[in-house]
């Protein structure tokens, strides 16, 4: 099951780590939490994990979409 690992720091700063998502499904889930924290999702810097690029390549190769 996909998970969000969320760390809330001592001053309220939040780190969100999406784990086990397929394709772009992570975006909408994470963005809802970013908005709930009062921020604009488009203004947040994201660090995509290497496995995302690998998965995208696999999807592209097989003609699938994420």
């Amino acid at each position: 099951m996909p998970e969000l690992k969320i760390q809330v720091g001592p001053a309220g700063e939040v780190k969100i780590d999406g784990v086990g998502f397929v394709g772009k499904s992570c975006d909408s889930v994470v963005d809802a939490f970013v908005r709930a924290l009062g921020r604009d999702p488009s203004s947040v810097v994201r660090d995509y994990k290497p496995e995302y690029a690998q998965l995208d390549e696999q999807l592209n190769a097989s003609g699938g979409a994420g």
Binding site: Q7, P10, F21, V30, G38, S43
Partner: protein, 157 residues
């Protein structure tokens, strides 16, 4: 897709601010508020603070306070990014250099309590959003050394 991102929380929601205050009170800390002020802001007096912090609780999500600190920052905040706008106001050189935070060392209020309120607000925000989506959340204990609270949100695949 898997990704990592870091978010600086803004306090926009009065009901979540109330929950954050309640969470602090559950730790036997004396917190007064939130109370609606005549200017529409919500005031919260934190433990050992002489004056209340004022929360706009609007789209800007700003907090203002005077804790009698030497370190000031009157630069405007970009509502989109939440970052201070260079040249838009006076700022203490040490704050501008990133060596101290604005409000650090305040004689009328310890920033640690404001941080604690922000921490509780963030937790309440995550819990509320997860509940709204029907997601199950597992909450870990606060790590004493780092002060981090870990929440795991289980998202149905």
């Amino acid at each position: 897709m898997s990704q990592t991102l870091v978010v600086a929380t803004k306090i926009k929601d009065v009901s979540l601010l109330q929950k954050a205050c309640d969470a602090m009170r559950s730790r036997n800390l004396i917190v007064v508020g939130p109370q609606l002020e005549s200017d529409g802001k919500q005031s919260v007096t934190l433990p050992q603070w002489h004056r209340p912090c004022l929360f706009s609780c609007d789209e800007a999500g700003e907090v203002s306070f005077d804790n009698y600190s030497d370190y000031y920052d009157n630069r405007q905040i970009d509502p989109r990014t939440g970052q201070r706008i260079a040249g838009s106001g006076d700022v203490h050189p040490m704050v501008a250099a990133g060596k101290v935070r604005a409000g650090e060392g305040g004689r009328w209020g310890d920033l640690a309590y404001l941080d604690m309120l922000q921490n509780e607000y963030s937790i309440a925000s995550v819990m509320q959003q997860a509940a709204a989506q029907g997601y199950h959340v597992t909450r870990g204990d606060m790590t004493q050394q780092s002060g981090l609270v870990e929440l795991t949100v289980h998202v149905p695949g």
